[in-house]
């Protein structure tokens, strides 16, 4: 089974290092508006959720793309956008159940998490360990699995 970018919101401190890391590595700029991961914050409650592409399968973004610009990278499992053939119809943004497909105005491009080609940089920079990159196989602790099941449940409800 491929690895997934696993989010544990209860561990997120809302520091937004992931956003800066992401935008810097993809664009050379420290600009949260150009990041492919976006931290949703509930300041009062101290709850933060780093929203990022779930690399769905089947993926709604891929289903709606008229040009075939979105496809799954066979080795990383990431849904990737081929900017060359994208016509910026934004169907993928409308279709994304998680709001994790973005439009980068500066580059005039659709952007989304590409798992950094199989080694996500945000995970390495996350101090709170809210982000991890692992395969969710039976070897993973049951607590983690229970949390994953919870997230899955919520996500399915949203869809």
């Amino acid at each position: 089974m491929g690895k997934i970018l696993y989010v544990q919101p209860e561990k997120c401190t809302g520091c937004r290092t992931c956003e800066l890391t992401c935008s810097f590595l993809h664009t050379g700029e420290f600009n949260p508006l150009r990041s492919r991961i976006s931290v949703v914050s509930f300041e009062k409650e101290g709850f933060f959720y780093p929203a990022v592409c779930q690399q769905c399968s089947p993926a709604p973004c891929m289903m709606v793309c008229p040009t075939g610009a979105i496809s799954r990278n066979a080795s990383t499992g990431a849904m990737e956008v081929n900017h060359e053939i994208c016509i910026r119809c934004k169907m993928c943004m409308i279709a994304c159940p998680f709001g994790a497909t973005f439009y980068d105005e500066r580059a005039n491009q659709i952007i989304k998490c590409d798992l950094c080609g199989g080694d996500p940089a945000c995970v390495k920079m996350c101090r709170g360990e809210a982000l991890s990159f692992s395969s969710l196989n039976p070897a993973v602790g049951s607590k983690k699995r229970a949390a994953a099941a919870k997230i899955k449940e919520v996500l399915e409800e949203v869809r």
Partner: protein
């Protein structure tokens, strides 16, 4: 298969066009009516290259439509090609007086547009990229109408077309900025059609047309909450918060 491009041996796959091979090999060929999302159209002729036979005779072809063949000898730049391209740009710049993109191109190629009257606001070069985009989206409302100097791109009878979903993909692919789109007061106006934009239930942002959302729902079979992208992740986070709290 092997080709010789500008004296260099290059590999190509059957079914590819000369232009596709050149792009992959980083050999620059200017284009106007080509977009990698669509098939080459052979409309603008900017992408002309020369093919050379065994006897050294050359003929010009449009690289965006010409399929590769084993041993093809291709010349991508010559005095003749340069002249053809300059002529094309001169004519397009004489027509599309209102397009900065085309006028800049004329400047780059050092050509003077002809002085033709009544074209000061014209931007369209009839490259048909918008027609292709519209077709791919499944709407197919754009086409070239009329003939000769009256030819233009339009919806049927220049009226608001029923199948138009207001996606603006045509606007996005147009290289010359010829397509007008206005967005104000929660409405999007394009090709004479007025769309009421759907407002995000949470923040009120106008984020898509009803028709776009209907198409997405039809294609995915998922019914979407009326939330913009940002509010969608916010909504999700809110639910997770309640779960963990």
């Amino acid at each position: 298969m092997k080709l010789i491009i500008d004296g260099r041996e290059v590999s190509a796959y059957p079914g590819e066009t000369i232009l596709e091979v050149c792009r992959r090999e980083n050999i620059f060929i200017p284009t106007l009516c080509y977009h990698p999302a669509f098939k080459g159209q052979g409309v603008c002729r900017m992408c002309m290259v020369e093919l050379e036979d065994e006897n050294g005779n050359r003929r010009m072809v449009a690289s965006c439509t010409y399929p590769v063949q084993e041993g093809l000898k291709i010349v991508t730049f010559s005095a003749k090609i340069d002249k053809v391209r300059k002529n094309i740009i001169r004519l397009l710049a004489s027509r599309a007086k209102g397009s900065d993109y085309i006028q800049d191109l004329a400047g780059q190629y050092g050509v003077e547009p002809l002085d033709l009257p009544g074209l000061d606001n014209e931007k369209c070069i009839l490259c048909r990229l918008c027609v292709n985009a519209c077709k791919l989206m499944g709407s197919s409302v754009l086409a070239a109408v009329w003939r000769g100097i009256d030819k233009k791109i339009s919806t049927p009878y220049e009226e608001a077309a029923e199948e138009c979903i207001g996606c603006a993909a045509c606007y996005e692919v147009c290289p010359t900025g010829a397509i007008e789109m206005k967005e104000e007061n929660g409405q999007r106006i394009i090709w004479n059609k007025v769309f009421n934009l759907v407002l995000c239930q949470h923040c009120g942002k106008a984020y898509a047309t009803e028709e776009q959302i209907a198409l997405v729902e039809r294609k995915t079979g998922i019914s979407l909450p009326a939330l913009c992208e940002a509010c969608r992740s916010q909504n999700l986070a809110g639910r997770l918060k309640n779960f963990s709290g």
